[in-house]
């Protein structure tokens, strides 16, 4: 065991601001020197549906969540008991997830019904009158009696009470709250601090501690000051740092946050953020911006990417230096699960576009790789004159983690080969056949030449031709850039091996699973005696030789990913011929927890079959079926029809 950790969850209706509360607590904990990992889950809905935010607090670098909850702060009934009011309920409530010895902060009137569901499980119930706290704080601020209009402040009370129960000092919480309210808003900030303080004091007074607690604060050196950030911010900052000049987008979860983040900073940083009418336009405008001489990017999710194969092919065919396409995967197929997690677009990213086209596909695995891979992507786009896809996902985009500030000393801008006007005009061919396959590029507006470009097959000058010899040569000129990429990019950027290269068990994965896998291995096999982890970071061109060499050394390979068809496993087989022993996967719309990976590892150890399906903290299949769904309907019958969350209608409606 590398250390101990504490798992906290707050749940409430979407739009009630649980994220604000959770992130204040997270930042306070980080400032106290803890390592913090946050994860939010919410419906595709604006107001009312159930959402929850988990924090895991540890004295080691924590990178994933646990399924068990040590302290649950519930702001509504659904958080506790699920949505049994639905004809087909979706969940049983989080009461069932609270560990024995853990606690629940809840409204006093819920206590009885929760007890009923808990049966004889030993969980500490901490009833707390949120609205009373809010009311008190508002009264102090001269706004008494408006508590129902400030339901959003229930969060603040809950976060205060949580801090109290955890036993951390209150000051950092107050500080973080206040840092969000500058100038005139100070008074609102103070009201919030008061509200949190009432919660804090109430909890300290009324409830004894829990069996679980955040472990003692690790003595971080002062140079170890950490930042707390989310994946989309890491990507956005990398774009700014890399000199991105035009970012295009069409709103879509979970990609929008990044563009909105950039939009907020566009005035200061000379970055054009263009909201287009759709994703066809977004990718095409980005391709042309790249041709126009800037570093260009676009960000989207699956449904938007489904409209981009055309633009990708155009970029590749015309050898545009980009764009960098950030594909934030979410639950598919089709509109699917818009706000949920999945890694289901690997194959699509690899093969989007008719014909054979050069492209690169990268998949960062954690917050700092989000930064560095995004930065590198622009260099690759310029250097190899092709589109670069970054496979991100909902989990990476929205996870909130503490880590050291980025080291930017090693970052270098490489704009690739450019046309040198000294060469004169007559000779300049935009698509000149060269040894490397890369033709120096000119930039429209540049004096000393002009050039032509077409999405049709073309000759060296850029004019249409259907000549056979030219076709063969031009096609391989384009495609052989992939070999150049393979040769030039250092292995450390292609893959990461954690542990020995001859461990008998190898966990193979890509993208955002990294955190849960590393945490699980630290628990399952802390010294990597038997188990190593191989993360593929460059998915195309695929580092086949090295991967094959590593896989062949392992007696057992587990391939872990969040999708139905185990796409990496199929890719590995395609590229190396090797079939992994266990396809460990999950496709329920939620990221892997540490617990799940451990469960998967254990199942494999105990001789599970080729397919290991994980969900809700455990192995649930290869087959999960109707019975389980019907069990939920039964539960509904048992506990009666519950009240759906209240949605008051405007006057004049009958519903």
């Amino acid at each position: 065991m590398p250390g101990a950790s504490f798992s906290w969850m707050i749940g409430g209706p979407q739009g009630s601001g649980i994220n604000l509360g959770a992130e204040i607590l997270a930042k306070a904990l980080s400032r106290l020197g803890y390592s913090v990992f946050g994860n939010i889950e919410y419906h595709s809905n604006i107001k009312g549906k159930h959402s929850y935010y988990r924090l895991r607090v540890a004295d080691f670098s924590v990178r994933s969540h646990l399924d068990e909850v040590h302290l649950l702060a519930a702001l509504d009934e659904e958080t506790l008991l699920g949505d049994l009011y639905h004809e087909f309920p979706a969940h049983r409530g989080h009461v069932e997830r609270v560990a024995a010895g853990g606690g629940i902060l809840l409204e006093p009137e819920m206590v009885e019904r929760v007890k009923e569901r808990l049966g004889n499980r030993e969980v500490k119930l901490c009833p707390i009158p949120y609205s009373e706290m809010v009311g008190k704080a508002l009264t102090q601020a001269g706004k008494g009696g408006q508590a129902h209009e400030y339901r959003i402040m229930n969060n603040t009370a809950a976060l205060g009470a949580s801090a109290g129960l955890m036993g951390i000092p209150f000051e950092p919480v107050a500080e973080v709250i206040m840092s969000g309210f500058g100038g005139k808003a100070r008074r609102v900030g103070e009201t919030n601090v008061n509200c949190a303080r009432f919660g804090y004091e109430y909890a300290q007074k009324e409830f004894k501690g829990l069996a679980f607690r955040p472990t003692p604060r690790p003595q971080r050196a002062s140079s170890d000051k950490q930042i707390m950030l989310k994946g989309y911010q890491a990507v956005g900052m990398a774009k700014l740092r890399a000199g991105c000049g035009v970012q295009t987008y069409y709103p879509i979860s979970p990609a929008t946050d990044e563009s909105v983040y950039l939009e907020e900073h566009q005035n200061k940083y000379n970055l054009v953020v263009l909201q287009t009418e759709d994703e066809v336009s977004a990718v095409d405008a980005a391709v042309m911006a790249a041709h126009g001489g800037v570093r260009a990017a676009t960000s989207t999710s699956g449904p938007g990417f489904a409209l981009m194969p055309e633009g990708l092919g155009f970029a590749a065919m015309t050898e545009a230096p980009g764009p960098v396409v950030c594909l934030y995967q979410r639950g598919g197929p089709s509109t699917g699960l818009p706000t949920r997690h999945e890694q289901g677009d690997l194959r699509f990213a690899l093969h989007a576009g008719q014909g054979d086209i050069p492209r690169m596909v990268l998949a960062p695995g954690d917050l700092s790789e989000c930064f560095y891979d995004t930065f590198d992507a622009f260099n690759y786009a310029d250097r190899y004159q092709l589109p670069v896809i970054l496979l991100l996902d909902k989990h990476l985009a929205t996870q909130y983690g503490s880590l050291p500030a980025f080291d930017m000393s090693g970052l270098r801008i490489d704009r690739g080969e450019l046309f040198d006007p000294a060469q004169g005009n007559g000779d300049y061919y935009r698509y000149r056949f060269t040894q490397s396959g890369i033709s120096p590029r000119a930039i429209p507006g540049q004096e000393g030449t002009i050039f032509w470009t077409t999405s049709d097959e073309h000759d060296q000058v850029g004019h249409i031709t259907e000549g056979i010899g030219n076709r063969l040569t031009m096609m391989s000129k384009r495609m052989k850039k992939m070999a150049l990429v393979e040769a030039e990019i250092p292995e450390t950027k292609k893959l990461t091996l954690v542990g020995r290269d001859d461990a008998p068990v190898l966990v193979l994965s890509w993208g955002s699973t990294k955190g849960a896998i590393l945490d699980a291995l630290a628990r399952f096999d802390p010294d990597h005696k038997r188990t190593s982890f191989l993360q593929i970071r460059l998915l195309h061109p695929f580092p086949a030789q090295r991967v094959a060499w590593l896989l062949k050394r392992a007696a057992k390979v587990l391939c872990v990913e969040s999708n139905y068809s185990c796409q990496l496993a199929s890719l590995v087989r395609e590229k190396t011929g090797i079939e992994v022993h266990h396809r460990v996967h999950k496709y329920d719309g939620h990221p892997f927890s540490e617990d799940e990976i451990v469960a998967g590892l254990e199942a494999a150890q105990q001789g599970a079959g080729e397919e290991i399906l994980l969900s809700e903290g455990k192995v649930v299949g290869p087959t999960y079926g109707r019975e389980q769904v019907e069990a939920l309907v039964e539960l509904r019958e048992k506990f009666g029809r519950m009240a759906p969350p209240l949605v008051p209608l405007p006057p004049g409606y009958n519903r």
Binding site: K225, Q266, M288, G293, V294, I443, E447, T454
Partner: protein
């Protein structure tokens, strides 16, 4: 519109040497010549001009121009000029493409591109057909009409590009005729000079597929007078004189709509609507997003300091 640099350029300076594979007698020859004449008239250096096309017969235009040339994708002229112009707002960017390209597959971009009012010029080669795919009906073919290439007459309402352009916010809306090269060249020059998005829909003859709207038909050789009427030879005033007066704007739009649909005996060509308001780039300049120097050559963006952003996260 880029600034004038190289003096005394002639039409020849804008011609490329590529073999042209349009059909004999195609109206597109007229348009490309007119474009070259307009550029010569404006004395723009070839390297400052970018011609951006979609796919279709019309899509081949950039290859015949001696300027920077992008032959992009079917329907994507507007997104393409948008990306390019934002990368480098000093370029003179001219979009060209077919009626199918602009009003069919490209309609969504056409609508929302117009609203943006970037300083670009868009020439639509309107021949009533999808020519390069062998003459299917395009969105501008009139209901009940059937060219020799169609197996049956159209049963859909035609789009009126002028009305559509107005509804979409283009600040300069004009119509030209491919085979009146001098008149068209003048229109194109006006469109380029106009600060904002200029739409020029061009009646283009396609002798191969469109046997209805031929040179003979347009020029009225089958009867006593031309079927075309030049607006500037009438007392029609296309200009919005007070763009802040929303009433005047609407009236001028309504006037243009009526004029463009007027009794089809004589089809008006010329400028239907013109209004000077700030361009998209100008707004971006105001906000500080764009500098005087175009993004493409702005070195400072590679030296951005993101430390303040990191500090905010601690």
């Amino acid at each position: 519109m880029a600034t004038v640099t190289a003096p005394s350029l002639t039409v020849k300076d804008f011609k490329s040497e590529v073999h042209n594979d349009w059909c004999p007698g195609c109206g597109d020859f007229g348009i490309v010549t007119a474009l070259q004449m307009a550029l010569a008239k404006l004395q723009l250096a070839p390297h400052q001009v970018v011609v951006v096309s979609g796919i279709g017969c019309s899509g081949k235009t950039p290859h015949y121009m001696h300027t920077y040339g992008f032959h992009t994708l079917h329907g994507r002229v507007m997104p393409s000029v948008t990306g390019l112009k934002l990368a480098n707002h000093k370029l003179t960017v001219i979009g060209v493409g077919g009626d199918g390209d602009a009003y069919g597959i490209g309609a969504g971009h056409f609508v929302n591109g117009g609203r943006r009012n970037l300083d670009i010029t868009y020439l639509v080669f309107n021949n009533d057909v999808y020519a390069l795919t062998k003459g299917q009906a395009s969105p501008t073919i009139k209901k009940g009409m059937k060219t020799k290439s169609m197996s049956e007459a159209s049963i859909m309402e035609a789009l009126n590009p002028v009305a559509l352009g107005l509804a979409c916010g283009y600040t300069f809306v004009a119509r030209g005729y491919a085979l009146d090269v001098k008149h068209l060249a003048e229109l194109i020059a006006q469109g380029i000079r106009h600060r904002g998005s200029a739409l020029i829909d061009i009646f283009q003859t396609c002798p191969t597929y469109n046997d209805l709207h031929t040179k003979t038909w347009y020029e009225g050789k089958d009867k006593s007078q031309s079927r075309l009427l030049k607006l500037e030879e009438t007392d029609y005033d296309p200009v919005v004189h007070h763009p802040s007066d929303s009433g005047e704007v609407s009236r001028k739009k309504a006037q243009a709509l009526l004029k463009s649909e007027e009794d089809s005996e004589r089809l008006p060509i010329g400028v239907f609507f013109k209004m000077e308001v700030p361009t998209y780039e100008e707004y971006l300049r105001q906000k500080g997003v764009l500098s005087e120097e175009p993004q493409a050559t702005l070195d400072t963006i590679f030296r951005r300091d993101i430390q303040p952003l990191l500090d905010a996260l601690a």
